[in-house]
């Protein structure tokens, strides 16, 4: 039988509430650590390193992955995390994978060993819908929102249509090859690419010529637009940092996301736009807040090698990473989140615990527990080394400032320092 709950909020009946809540917050912080089991499972099936992934917009728990040996597989992590189907056709490594907004067409592109090129359109009948070969190797592909147009990156940026065997238009800025390409989710005609000359280029399909380019000190491996604030995009850079840019103002980064100790290989936004996941060459996956300069979470396992590709699941509750060790790994996006159906009372309890942690988050004891992450030894050592180097740099710069005439040398903020020039 359900009992009615009578409440009386007289403070005389609830004495020492601050001490009680502090103790509860401490317990909640410890429980969060105990329940932090982010690893859900690994999916094997590939026989070579995984190079790219694509979400299936029609199926929440399914993901497409392409590997260096030319295999494209569809995984389902609902039941036994087994390969559902294979898409044959590639001879060389698959470098780009994307699916159309309606989820009916999967596009993969790749390089085979003789640098012949092919482009394969696949329908869900598990057969290539069309195979297109073009004169250069492809490095990336992305589909436009809601149309049949997609873009490929290679020696230049080509815009294709499902029904045509030749690109409908081609863009080029300089002679260097383009590494990655992403359409803007808000303005479908806007396109961001990164190229091997360390540049990030914005294209507009309506103008038929590129309109903005920024050159950074190091190469950008991947680009992702924020789906909720489509003016902003985040780039995964070779210099271990991620940079969030405002597309209207490319001369400085909005935020520099620092924590990785090796090149960042891929970045993908959560559908909520509040956070994004990055995979790095240092064998870790990190989750950042969209405006946080340091990561909220780090995931790693002993067996996970270099991470080449990461994706946030469509319900923002999972993160999938594909790595050099031929496995896809599924992680929870919130490490201590309870999976499955949550009873109302459980939900209330979780909310209460979160509120408690937020209330006392600045107190040293609770902050220490909440912030602590175990790092693999190489990452830990590398982070210390990088910190030493940065500190030495800062020290040197301070001295340089002190010994130069006032006003003669100005130091750029870090948001601008890695940007060489902006062209348009």
């Amino acid at each position: 039988m359900e009992q009615k709950v009578f409440r009386n909020y007289d403070p005389n009946l609830h004495t020492q509430e601050k001490a009680v809540e502090y103790t509860r917050a401490l317990n909640a912080a410890k429980l969060e650590k105990i329940f932090a089991r982010p690893f859900v499972g690994a999916m094997d099936g590939h026989i070579d390193a995984i190079s790219c992934m694509a979400k299936n917009p029609n199926h929440l728990k399914s993901v497409f992955s392409g590997s260096m040996d030319g295999a494209v597989l569809n995984f389902l992590w609902k039941k036994n995390r087994k390969t559902v189907c294979q898409f044959p056709g590639h001879q060389g490594a698959v470098r780009g994978l994307t699916s159309s907004t309606n989820g009916e067409v999967l596009i993969s592109c790749g390089t085979d060993c003789t640098f012949l090129l092919q482009l394969i359109l696949l329908l869900f009948v598990f057969q290539p819908l069309a195979v297109y070969t073009w004169k250069h190797a492809f490095w990336g592909v992305d589909h436009q929102w809601d149309t049949s147009i997609f873009a490929t990156a290679g020696a230049q940026v080509d815009i294709w249509d499902h029904n045509r065997s030749e690109p409908i238009s081609t863009f080029q800025w300089g002679n260097d090859s383009v590494i990655s390409v992403r359409f803007n989710p808000g303005e479908p005609n806007l396109l961001a690419t990164s190229s091997s000359d360390r540049g990030i280029i914005l294209y507009d399909l309506r103008t038929s010529s590129p309109f903005k380019k920024v050159i950074m000190q190091t190469k950008t491996n991947s680009i992702c637009w924020n789906p909720m604030e489509p003016i902003n995009f985040t780039v995964a850079n070779e210099d271990c940092n991620c940079y969030t840019f405002d597309a209207r103002k490319l001369d400085e980064a909005k935020v520099v996301h620092r924590d990785h100790v090796s090149a960042v290989m891929d970045v993908d936004y959560s559908p909520t736009g509040r956070e994004f996941v990055t995979g790095s060459y240092d064998r870790t996956v990190r989750i950042f807040n969209h405006n946080g300069d340091h990561s909220r979470e780090i995931y790693h396992t002993k067996r996970m090698q270099r991470v080449f590709s990461v994706r946030y699941s469509c319900d923002a509750s999972y993160v999938i990473s594909g790595s050099d060790d031929t496995n896809l790994r599924i992680w929870k996006s919130k490490a201590s989140e309870q999976l499955g159906v949550i009873l109302p009372r459980e939900k209330k309890k979780h909310e209460y615990n979160d509120a408690l942690k937020a209330r006392f988050k600045h107190l040293p004891e609770i902050r220490r527990i909440v912030k602590h992450r175990h790092l693999p030894k190489p990452v830990y050592k590398a982070a210390i080394m990088r910190r030493t180097v940065t500190e030495a740099d800062n020290r040197k710069e301070e001295r340089r400032q002190a010994h130069s005439a006032p006003g003669s040398s100005s130091r750029k903020p870090f948001r601008k320092r890695r940007i060489i020039k902006e062209e348009s």
Binding site: N8, N12, L13, H14, Q16, K18, Y22, A402, H403
Partner: protein
């Protein structure tokens, strides 16, 4: 004893003198201060524990949020024991004699003791010295009770006075003439005081102005030992020389209960769950402090106030005046009591009194070298940072 139908739940003989009884975290367990040790019994009268650490206990108090059993003993010690782990948290000598007058402040769980010297001391388990010592009465304190808000404390002394103190000001806000064997505040702030066979109930008439509310006399010759209000009921229970009786005091109890604090319809499953939660939320002994709201606050920066020039001058003047008046002139034989010598001595005294002030005044920027260095430092501030160190070197 089940108070609803006034039937005893269990009655058993311990064959020793029982000095005090308290319930522990729920009605299943209670601690009894017997002649030699404190014992813990369950509802059926089975002995669960014998707490041998506290010898010859006089009075017990249980802090339910901290799971601490506090006891005073015949050796004038205050003993804190954690009953969930059995650990002795603290054992302090009060140094003011054995006492059986003890009460805990519900607001902050600070323990107050009333002593035979008329002093009231407040204790926390993490300090060996009392937090506060108040001289409340001219004679021994006989009873002590806290208002549920924790701001007021009532004390009764053998000096024929009952006083109500405001702990925010540490001032007696009310003083009643008379003896009281026992004192108790109800949940709504009524104060019961009992002496001999008379009971009086006082009430806050607004603005901390206490006035007599009700009086009651039980059969003559009965001596009231303790008077306690029942929580959430308008009932005052009286323990006297011939047994137990209860009287109605309208408006004494809290009418609305909170299911998460005290649930009268509690099932045994809920009770055991509540016990587990209470153990999880057990507060550490360090959380007992005079101001419990200071937990989770930032400590204020402690800055020493520098005396102003005016203050120093005033101090100097008073010191000089004192020195002048303190000069003792001996009456000496004729010819040795010269006025010039007397004046010289006076001058000397005044100079001695002035000296520390003068030295202090001179010190900060007194020495010429120091002054020079300061000037140089000021010069250096105008220069670029790289050149500053050369200026410093020159000065040394």
């Amino acid at each position: 004893m089940d108070v609803l139908n006034l039937e005893s739940v269990k009655e058993f003989q311990v064959r020793e003198r029982v000095r005090d009884v308290v319930f522990l975290q729920n009605d299943q367990l209670y601690a009894v201060a017997q002649k030699k040790y404190t014992y813990v019994y369950n509802r059926h009268g089975t002995e669960i524990h014998c707490l041998k650490e506290n010898r010859q206990p006089l009075k017990l108090e249980f802090l339910e949020k901290h799971f601490l059993l506090v006891g005073t003993n015949n050796f004038s010690q205050l003993h804190y024991q954690d009953i969930s782990t059995g650990q002795v948290v603290a054992n302090y000598r009060t140094g003011l004699g054995p006492t059986s007058v003890m009460c805990s402040n519900p607001y902050n769980s600070v323990i107050s003791l009333g002593h035979s010297g008329g002093k009231l001391t407040m204790w926390k388990p993490t300090s060996g010295k009392p937090l506060i010592t108040m001289l409340c009465h001219q004679g021994p304190i006989t009873a002590l009770a806290y208002h549920p808000s924790g701001n007021l404390v009532a004390t009764a002394g053998l000096d024929k006075k009952i006083k109500i103190w405001d702990l925010r000001k540490f001032e007696a806000i009310h003083s009643i003439q008379g003896h009281a064997q026992t004192l108790d505040f109800s949940q709504k702030g009524l104060l019961a005081l009992a002496n001999g066979s008379r009971v009086q109930v006082w009430r806050d008439k607004g603005g901390q102005d206490f006035g007599l509310y009700m009086t009651h006399g039980i059969a003559k010759g009965y001596q009231i030992g303790t008077a306690k209000f029942r929580p959430y009921e308008d009932v005052l229970g009286l323990g006297h020389s011939m047994g137990f009786s209860s009287i109605l005091i309208p408006g004494s109890g809290e009418p609305n209960f909170d299911s998460w604090v005290a649930n009268p319809y509690e099932t045994s499953k809920q009770r055991s769950k509540k016990e587990v939660h209470a153990l999880l939320d057990k507060l550490p002994p360090e959380s007992i402090m005079l101001d419990p709201s200071s937990i989770g606050m930032v400590r204020e920066r402690q800055r020493k106030e520098k005396p102003t020039k005016k203050d120093i001058e005033q101090q100097l003047e008073t010191a000089v005046q004192e020195a002048k008046s303190n000069v003792v002139i001996k009456k000496k034989t004729k010819g040795r009591n010269k006025p010039s010598k007397i004046a010289k001595r006076k001058e000397e005294e005044v100079f001695n009194a002035k000296r520390p002030f003068l030295e202090k005044q001179r010190d900060p920027e007194g020495a010429p070298q120091e002054k020079k260095r300061k000037v140089l430092l000021e010069v250096a501030e105008d220069l670029p940072k790289s050149l500053q160190r050369f200026v410093k070197k020159k000065s040394v």
